[in-house]
């Protein structure tokens, strides 16, 4: 038998507003409220609302059908503030009993790469939010953009999680199949569900690609491919952005019809079923150890963290933001702390990516900047203002390598 495990990522960042040099010290409003609202509204109408309606319907028609979701804390905040209707529709899905919720960092951040204490703080903050909104306590974790290594498994195991979702990266798997449960090499033996990137990306990226040899992709065809894992795998992990449905792939591509018929087509094969991540790791024994000392992720052909911290400007921006952690927390100023954390969302660093070519289109998705260099200047202007706010409270100039490197070198009036 083959079990299909769906996991959908739901996330929208707080994109920064155009923040110019003239704003520093005068304007502490960093985020583009209007633009973010417009995008959320658009994605709600194109994806979240119609897909949730379809999901609820599918749950009624197929009691066996189930999926898992991971919501970033920042998208949940946006739903609460701007679109309670969307939040309610997700709550209804969870209430149906067909949905497992996955844990992640509240701010969809890269904290794991730069500050372990910050990482743990955000995982806990997210856990609380999920419990409060949905009444579930996640037992499986996924890190931002499926960024993963052995060390992450140990930390997550120490926090009491039983499983982690990760990329089925060829460079780690080698000849082995992603369609089994694996375990981490350390003392915690955390169970790993690895993304079947071929089948996942057939839906997420190739579905509407006319140049693709398998175009058009139909539910019966896809179900046959999934069924091929029979005899050579237990679980097919289909991980993708939820925005695939209706937003990345528009309704005209037939993506909703595909989704509508997929459960019945998969269930047509005897013994095939659907599992959530925690069911999968309870049911199947690990086949072996997935040993990834290096960082892997689900992004780009490299499957590493280079989409976020691959170049010098990305590294500098990320190092800066984590360098000031202690000073930020010491202010005990809720506004400063929240702004600082919202600036940690991985998208801000993604916009500074200078890997063009094949992956360029993905990087353009709702990207507010003309170039990565704009993104960096904007981000650094904001950090310079944040620095002034912190120093206004600490009453002394902050010190640090990145602070010195990027502090504006001329005299300006302090925070007014």
């Amino acid at each position: 038998m083959v079990s299909v495990c769906f996991y959908f990522q739901v996330h929208q960042p707080n994109r920064a507003r155009k923040y110019r040099i003239f704003d520093i010290g005068k304007n502490h409003d960093y985020f583009d409220a209007r633009g973010n609202k417009e995008i959320l509204e658009r994605v709600a109408q194109k994806c979240y609302l119609p897909t949730n309606r379809l999901m609820l319907d599918l749950f009624k028609r197929h009691p066996e059908f189930k999926v898992s979701f991971s919501f970033s804390g920042v998208v949940l905040e946006q739903f609460e503030a701007l679109h309670p209707e969307v939040l309610d529709s997700f709550k209804a899905l969870v209430k149906s009993g067909h949905v497992e919720l996955i844990s992640e960092t509240y701010y969809h951040s890269l904290a794991f790469l730069f500050s372990k204490p910050e990482f743990v703080a955000q995982v806990k903050q997210h856990q609380n939010k999920i419990k409060r909104l949905f009444g579930q306590t996640p037992s499986v974790f996924r890190n931002t953009e499926l960024i993963y290594n052995n060390e992450l498994a140990e930390m997550i195991g120490d926090l009491g999680y039983r499983g982690i979702l990760a990329e089925g990266a060829d460079k780690i798997l080698g000849w082995r199949s992603p369609n089994f449960i694996y375990s981490s090499p350390g003392k915690n033996k955390v169970k790993l569900l690895l993304k079947n990137y071929r089948l996942s990306d057939d839906i997420a990226f190739r579905f509407s690609n006319h140049d693709w040899g398998e175009f058009p992709l139909t539910a019966p065809k896809f179900a046959r491919w999934v069924n091929k894992a029979n005899g050579n795998g237990n679980v097919v992990n289909l991980f993708m952005d939820y925005e695939t449905f209706g937003e990345h792939q528009w309704p005209e591509t037939g993506i909703f019809e595909f989704l509508e018929h997929l459960p019945e087509e998969i269930l047509k094969f005897e013994d095939n079923d659907f599992v959530t991540p925690s069911e999968a790791i309870a049911r199947y024994k690990p086949l072996g150890v997935f040993n990834s000392p290096e960082i892997i992720s689900w992004a780009d052909v490299e499957r590493d963290a280079s989409a976020w911290v691959g170049n010098d400007i990305q590294k500098a921006a990320a190092e800066y933001i984590y360098e000031i952690r202690n000073e930020v927390l010491k202010t005990k100023d809720a506004g400063i702390i929240e702004d600082w954390r919202k600036l940690q969302t991985s998208d801000h660093f993604y916009y500074m990516c200078t890997k063009w070519f094949n992956d360029g289109d993905v990087h353009k998705y709702f990207n507010p900047y003309d170039t990565p260099y704009d993104a960096f200047i904007n981000f650094m202007n904001i950090l310079n203002d944040l620095l002034l706010r912190i120093e206004a409270i600490s009453k002394k100039p902050l010190k640090g390598k990145k602070i010195e490197e990027f502090r504006l070198k001329f005299k300006r009036e302090a925070n007014g």
Binding site: D374, M380, N381, K409
Partner: protein, 404 residues
């Protein structure tokens, strides 16, 4: 090919493009007969000697110099001034036109005579002054004509075209067999303002090198100038098209925030006196340096000493200078109203009128050093891939289509 004299002769981007295209074309399987206007007295100047030394020599490249006072970017007023400084009727060539249009007519007739004398398969004319000559050559030979537009009258005048020049451009493009535009930006102008059908206009981008892999040369941290200030460079003709006024307004605002910046304006042009005056009015004369027109190695030196190059053009059909800056490892800000912004990725792009954003970018690059480093590092690699060979291949393909 009816073209223009090569750099370092004072001809701006048009000469550079003619040089790049013909040099790359001369390595292909075609013969080029290159016809250029040349005032005879120029032959005595040191720069012409420089050109001759620099000129590539291949058996399939021949050149005809036609005695004429025409240079690119001339307007009626400037042409009449040429007369007053004694070049027209100076004894070398008594029959020059009394005004620009007469001279264009005279050149056209000379081109007609050349076209009758020589054999060729395709005529390729660069910009409006040569376009009329191209039409004449087409009339007598019956051969297909390609008119390449490096700048329209709308670009040169920032939207206030001279009717006579506009009419010539329109007639030439309408009667040409094919029009080559240096960017989609320019193609859009040609289709919109001149009513030329979209499918008749082919885009062939300019380039900056010939594909020889090179390492980035040593940059100059302006030790020679004994400056500790950062240097922001404007390089180009000081004309309304190039947006020097926006550069000065940005300079003023930058200096209000950071007084330790020098703004260098390299180039000459009809707006030079008013820009000197404007700098004084803005109270920033101390920080604005007018270097005059730069040639050859001086241009590279200017880029190398600059911390940042800004091209605030109001309407730039292509814009080769940013590519030259990138080749010299200088970070670049270019106006979005330019053809080159379609081609390059590793630079900052700004609307020419958005002075505040320009200031934001200038301060950003000068103060967040990493951004300039990352940008210029990748820009250098990028620009090495933008070759005249690619442009020439597109032209050869076009010629073959027209001949068959």
């Amino acid at each position: 090919m009816l073209g223009w004299e090569f750099p370092p002769y004072k001809s701006g981007g048009l000469g550079t493009a003619c040089y790049g295209l013909t040099k790359a074309l001369s390595k292909k399987d075609i013969d080029i007969l290159f016809v250029i206007p040349r005032a005879p007295f120029e032959i005595k100047s040191e720069y012409v000697n420089l050109i001759l030394a620099d000129r590539f020599i291949t058996p399939n490249f021949r050149e005809i110099k036609v005695a004429s006072n025409l240079t690119p970017y001339l307007n009626f007023e400037q042409y009449s001034k040429l007369g007053s400084i004694g070049q027209v009727g100076s004894g070398f060539e008594p029959n020059y036109g009394r005004n620009l249009m007469e001279e264009v007519e005279r050149y056209t007739e000379l081109a007609r005579a050349i076209a009758m004398k020589f054999k060729f398969d395709v005529i390729h004319a660069h910009d409006w002054m040569c376009a009329k000559a191209g039409l004449a050559a087409k009339e007598v030979s019956g051969k297909p004509l390609v008119v390449q537009i490096h700048a329209t009258e709308f670009d040169r005048t920032a939207g206030f075209p001279n009717q006579i020049i506009y009419d010539i451009e329109k007639e030439a493009m309408s009667r040409a067999d094919k029009v080559v535009a240096v960017s989609n930006f320019t193609k859009g102008m040609i289709v919109r303002h001149y009513g030329i059908p979209d499918e008749k206009v082919k885009v062939v981008y300019n380039a900056v090198n010939f594909g020889e892999g090179k390492e980035l040369e040593q940059r100059d941290d302006h030790v020679n100038l004994k400056w500790t200030d950062k240097v922001v460079l404007f390089l180009g003709r000081i004309t309304i098209q190039k947006g020097p006024g926006y550069f000065l307004e940005a300079a003023k605002k930058v200096l209000e925030i950071d007084p330790n910046v020098k703004f260098v304006i390299a180039g000459s042009g009809d707006l030079m006196p008013s820009m000197v005056e404007k700098a004084a009015q803005l109270g920033i004369s101390k920080n604005v340096i007018f270097s005059g027109f730069l040639r050859g190695k001086e241009v590279d030196a200017a880029f190398k000493m600059a911390d940042l190059y800004v091209m605030p053009s109001v309407s730039e059909p292509f814009g080769i200078s940013p590519l030259e800056a990138m080749k010299n490892g200088t970070p670049v800000i270019i106006s979005k109203q330019s053809g080159v912004s379609e081609v390059v990725k590793n630079c900052l792009k700004v609307d020419f009128w958005d002075v505040d954003e320009m200031v934001n970018m200038i301060i950003g690059v000068l103060n967040y050093k990493k951004v300039g480093e990352e940008m210029s590092k990748l820009a250098f690699k990028e620009v090495m891939g933008i070759t005249w060979n690619d442009s020439a291949n597109k032209l050869v393909k076009l010629y073959r289509e027209l001949m068959s």
